[in-house]
Amino acid sequence: MREVAIIGIGQTPVREHWPISLRHLALEASLNALHDANIERVDAVYVGNMMSGEITGQEHLGALLADSLGQTGAEALKVEAACASGSAAFRVGMMAVASGMNDLVLVTGVEKMTDTSGRETTAALAMAADAEYEVAQGVSFVSLNALLMRRYMYEYGWERKDFANFVVTAHSNGMNNPNAMFHMKVTPEQYARCATIADPVGLLDASPVCDGAAAVILAPAEYARTLSPAPIRVRGSGIATAPVAVHDRKDPLALEAARLSAKRAYDMAKVKPQDISFFELHDAFTIMSALSLEASGFAERGQGVRLALDGEITLQGRLPIATMGGLKSRGHPVGATGMYQIVETVLQLRGLAGKNQLPNARLGMVQNIGGSGATIITTILEAMS
């Protein structure tokens, strides 16, 4: 198996992009990545996306993007794994290069969520859950997270206010990311007072509906230095699954797929949790941040919230998370999110994260969660010295 490197990155701002179509969002991020890598053609295009069929009435995004890029004829596929579609496409691209089947690969995550009403988008998002035995009962994606958050608070004695720093930190970091959806500070008081969507989940526990696209170019690490002045090595990659329905999981608070995917990524990279400099986790909901920190080995069970309370997750803390705003503030264009996380991790490792630059960013970890935890993908990246 060949080592794989990232030699180019691109992104669009995360917004409600009324004037820009799905196709053009994907095109813009992809062209930015090709330009950054200083190449014109690739062997293959992998597109991460969840909801284009439901929202835009457009599937077959692989061929669509290859054609839009003027690369008709290239191998091209759409990869879907709910909110983990971005990292899933990255994983497929990485395997294509690692196996020797392809040399230069474009991976683009894209999601257009604002072409439908809020209710229709909510229903489309719920397709990540079990249609017959969760959605048919009237649960929304938000309420699945609410079910987990309530049980977590009950078992470990936390109150909702204890989650505030996940939100405060993400919004503080997003202030310095020009591509973030929100540029607004949030105080613990604002978090405490926000409207309830599905108790105990409030508006500020959840990430926003938005549009965006982000992309990378992958190449064999052995040639990466000849192609890029600052290549980033893929040190570890792990993907794992759990039952789609929360009720089918033996231990709903354990996020077993996160534990397994992180272990697989650590094993491949030959590193431990304490070697990780920063963690771009999947803060779609505050409860997911806590469960992800625990399952990935950064906190004991039931103690993920403690890292937020103690300020360990800020840019100055022991384990910075959501360094460019995370899903909370940068936004969560679902199928693009995993690729934004990877692009932002590359910015940190290249030393180009601006005011949010971490002083000693050596190993960056990304975790992208599909559904309420059924597909989880963990990636560990490192600057090639």
Partner: protein
Amino acid sequence: MEGKVAHDWRLRGQRYRLEGEECPHCKAKIFPPRDICPECKRPAKEPYRLSGRGEVYTFSTLNSAPEGFENYTPYTVALVKLEEGPMITAQLTDVAPEDVRIGMPVEMVTRKLRAQGDEGTIIYGYKFRPTGLGHAH
């Protein structure tokens, strides 16, 4: 697809009678039916009807509902731990949201889940209510 006539007809045994399965190898009770035992991973197709008794594992009251349920807010959904072992996602009924507690004993009843489509086809299914209400009324 969810909401299509054939689809709803196919699920009638589960929605009205909690028809699941029992594993012939390890005797685990299974709901919904999946034909492979989630405990021992061996084939498990023996029909088994669950009692419908259980307790609330966790719950949430929705102020904002997905498409098709917008006329019913606020309503409370729960994970119910059935006494035979499986967990099930369902709405709670006949109880005010503020009175719901984790650990509360509940039992299955058949209720309207929603009306759907232009013809207003009514979908019925299981919900859960606090145990004992049937005797008190």
